[in-house]
């Protein structure tokens, strides 16, 4: 495989190899010299059409720990904002000798399109409401790290599934890795064909919590309220927000995950967000190792 565009493209062996590689590379962060020479002389371009400091920084750090040269190409203040097409930008990066392009874009499928236009590897760092493969991989990594396995793990993904690239990538990946996923959301925030997906669906968070090893909360944007996806923040939070009381309904070993940024008081209470069972900061740490693994596996070989 040359690109990482969708977790649906990963076989179980490939996904496991990525997680295993990340586990080895995690040690690098604990060393005095946090750097490996592996990608010396390779150029990685971060092409970000959406602001996402956390994802961009994570990729940048991962590439730098592997000794790659990193160029940050953000849409603001560049020719992109002057109306240059994605294709022309791609050809420009190609001409500069980019070995890999990490792309974040508001349009679903932008990474797929880019892969048609450049010779190097394309890493999808989030495309519209489609996918965010490295997020799902770091989520799986975190679950395995915390709970020791993925096979048979019961994972509830709660929130705005309809607009979530994190949910799509996670459903595909976790299913491949043998976990059981339940999507929890009001019907308005679920895709119409969700019954054809390889996961369970529930409208009732309280019913799902006691049967979950992992509860992954997704950000819900208040603007969805204006589009009538739910009546009010209060009602959403009452039905689908995770607070201390609900945390108590979860099995004692179960963990709470969130891809960030969190909206405290909306989908997650401060009490839960700050609890040791919440893995938000671990996810960020693991994200660097995971992205190192992906960069190594895509660029490290022939």
């Amino acid at each position: 495989m040359r690109h990482l565009l969708s977790t649906g493209d990963l076989s179980r062996d490939e996904a496991t190899l990525i997680l295993d590689t990340a586990a080895e590379l995690a040690q690098v962060g604990d060393r005095s010299v946090k750097k490996l020479p592996t990608l010396r002389g390779r150029t990685v371009v971060n092409l970000f059409y959406e602001d996402s400091t956390r994802t961009r920084t994570s990729f940048e750090l991962a590439a730098k720990r592997l000794s790659a040269d990193v160029i940050n190409f953000s849409a603001k203040g560049s020719s992109v904002s002057k109306g240059e097409s994605l294709k022309d930008t791609a050809l420009t990066l190609q001409a500069m000798g980019a070995d890999a392009v990490v792309i974040r874009h508001s349009a679903s499928g932008a990474a797929h399109r880019l892969a048609n236009w450049v010779d190097g590897s394309v890493l999808n760092a989030g495309d519209g409401t489609h996918e965010h493969p490295t997020q799902a991989l770091l989520d799986a990594y975190t679950m395995r790290d915390r709970l020791g396995r993925l096979e048979g793990l019961r994972v509830a993904v709660v929130g705005d599934i309809l607009h979530s690239r994190v949910a799509r990538s996670n459903v595909l990946l976790l299913t491949t890795l043998g976990a059981h996923v339940t999507l929890v959301a009001p019907p308005t925030l679920l895709p119409v064909s969700v019954h054809t997906w390889s996961c369970e669906v529930s409208y009732d968070l309280d019913e799902v919590l006691p049967k979950s090893d992992v509860v992954m909360m997704l950000r819900v944007q208040a603007e969805r309220m204006r589009d009538s996806f739910f009546p009010s923040v209060r009602e959403y939070s009452r039905n689908y927000g995770l607070d201390g009381e609900r945390l108590g309904k979860m099995p004692s070993e179960a963990i709470v995950m969130h891809p960030g940024p969190m909206v405290r008081g909306m989908e997650i209470s401060a009490e839960v967000a700050d609890s040791p069972r919440c893995t938000v900061t671990e996810q960020v740490t693991n994200g660097v190792s995971l992205r190192m693994a992906v960069l190594y596996l895509l660029l490290g070989g022939s």
Partner: protein
């Protein structure tokens, strides 16, 4: 204007797919039909062995882009493309810039078509001023103009205001006009990018539910029946729409409907590539919808095939999906797609193809001199089609100014060998004159 006047003797063509005969065109009319006709002096003989002769095709739904987007297509280039596809008359949609909402614009388009001379260009008038959906345009003036407009449409945009739609339907009764509705409930399709279903959910593209089309069609059929007007439904794309139109016809509503060649063949699975060459309005639907559309066209529920030929420059398609333009070129591939989907599958005879692609659209658009029988004395508007000449489609090799064909790389079963407009060849030996 092609300079090949004079008599033409067509040898061995099969009218409507029947037995081979000769046809003689003199002075723009069919002068004789029969076996072994004698060539008059100066006549040019065309060997049509194995070719099917159909009345010149009539398209009720073409975007010629002029005025305004001459980089994508002009009346001249678009009508040449039409001739290449076997068309002798096309209806130029109103969503130009400026919009064809006045007698001045429709006459300009009509005149450009006459000057080009490749087919009879019939302008479609906008229903509302600027396609804004607020105020009726000067429909009467366009009807009375030199362009003799009979079809009115805000195509691209739905006349969603029920009251405005009712008034438009009523108003065109005065001159036997018809409202061609682009059925798309706007609120249900805000930001929509493709058919709503399994594929859109997987791809994370905002979906375009079938109900957004079907709800408008149902409403319009009821309205048209209530006020006793003619309604034409553009580019029907869903199974539910076919069902509703069938029901409306049964209860006596004067409704006609069209389907495009691409909706007869392609499905939303193609969007998996995120290649906007497959982006179109209405969107490609599911295999079940395709099947229902074919059956609807076969049983007459859907009256005609119309191309919705929508040329776009390369840069409008070589982009990410959500910013790409909607539409596909289709004039030059329409007949071959209909052969593949309807004739080769046994759903339509060639005589029925002549009805769906020539006679019926001419009747709906009230186009004189087109869609006539292949009979002595009729205008010699004729297409000669080779149903056994498979060709791999290449957008770059087309006559249209644009190349956004969704059939590129596919092999279609046949091709137009010759088109005659009032006895004058616009296409001969498969090449534009």
């Amino acid at each position: 204007m092609p300079d090949t006047n004079g008599p033409h003797l067509i040898r061995g063509a099969r009218p409507l797919g029947g037995d081979p005969v000769d046809l003689l065109f003199v002075d723009g009319r069919i002068a004789a039909i029969g076996p072994d006709l004698e060539a008059p002096e100066g006549a040019r003989t065309v060997d049509a062995t194995g070719l099917i002769a159909l009345p010149g095709l009539v398209d009720l739904h073409t975007h010629l882009r002029e005025p305004g987007r001459e980089d994508a297509e002009t009346v001249a280039s678009g009508s040449r493309s039409a001739a290449m596809g076997g068309y002798t008359s096309v209806h130029a949609m109103a969503n130009t810039d400026p919009v064809a909402d006045t007698a001045g614009v429709v006459e300009q388009v009509w005149r450009l078509g006459r000057e080009a001379g490749y087919c009879d260009v019939r302008p479609v008038g906008a229903v509302t001023v600027g396609l804004a959906g607020e105020q009726l345009s000067e429909i009467g003036a366009m009807a009375d103009s030199a362009a003799q407009v009979r079809v009115f449409s805000d195509d691209g945009i739905c006349v969603s205001d029920a009251l405005l739609m009712r008034r438009a339907l009523e108003y065109v009764k005065a001159f036997d006009g018809v409202i061609a509705q682009h059925a798309q409930e706007p609120r249900l399709t805000e930001g929509a990018q493709m058919n709503e279903g399994c594929v859109s959910d997987r791809l994370g593209l905002p979906g375009w539910p079938a109900v957004a089309e079907e709800a408008i069609i149902a409403r319009d059929c009821l309205l048209a029946q209530h006020v006793g007007s003619r309604l034409h439904v553009c580019h029907v794309s869903t199974k539910g729409s076919v069902d509703i139109i069938r029901w409306a016809k049964e209860r006596g509503c004067d409704v006609t409907a069209e389907v495009t060649p691409h909706h007869l063949l392609l499905t939303d699975e193609l969007v998996e590539s995120y290649d906007p060459i497959y982006k179109v309005n209405p969107p490609l639907r599911t295999a079940e919808d395709v099947q229902a559309l074919r059956e609807g066209l076969a049983d007459g529920t859907i009256d005609i095939v119309a191309t919705d030929h929508a040329p776009h420059p390369v840069e409008a398609k070589e982009t990410e999906w959500s910013t790409a333009a909607m539409g596909m070129v289709g004039l030059e591939t329409a007949l071959a797609v209909v052969q593949r989907t309807m004739v080769d599958t046994g759903l339509l005879t060639w005589a029925q193809v002549a009805d769906r692609m020539s006679t019926a659209p001419a009747r709906i658009g009230r186009v004189d001199g087109h869609g006539r029988e292949l009979a002595v004395g009729e205008p010699a508007n004729v297409v000669l089609y080779d149903p056994a000449a498979p060709v791999e489609i290449d957008g770059g090799a087309m006559v249209t100014k644009s190349s956004n064909t969704p059939f590129r790389g596919m092999t279609l079963p046949g091709g137009v060998r010759a088109t005659f407009l009032r006895g004058v060849p616009t296409v001969l030996e498969g090449k534009i004159k």
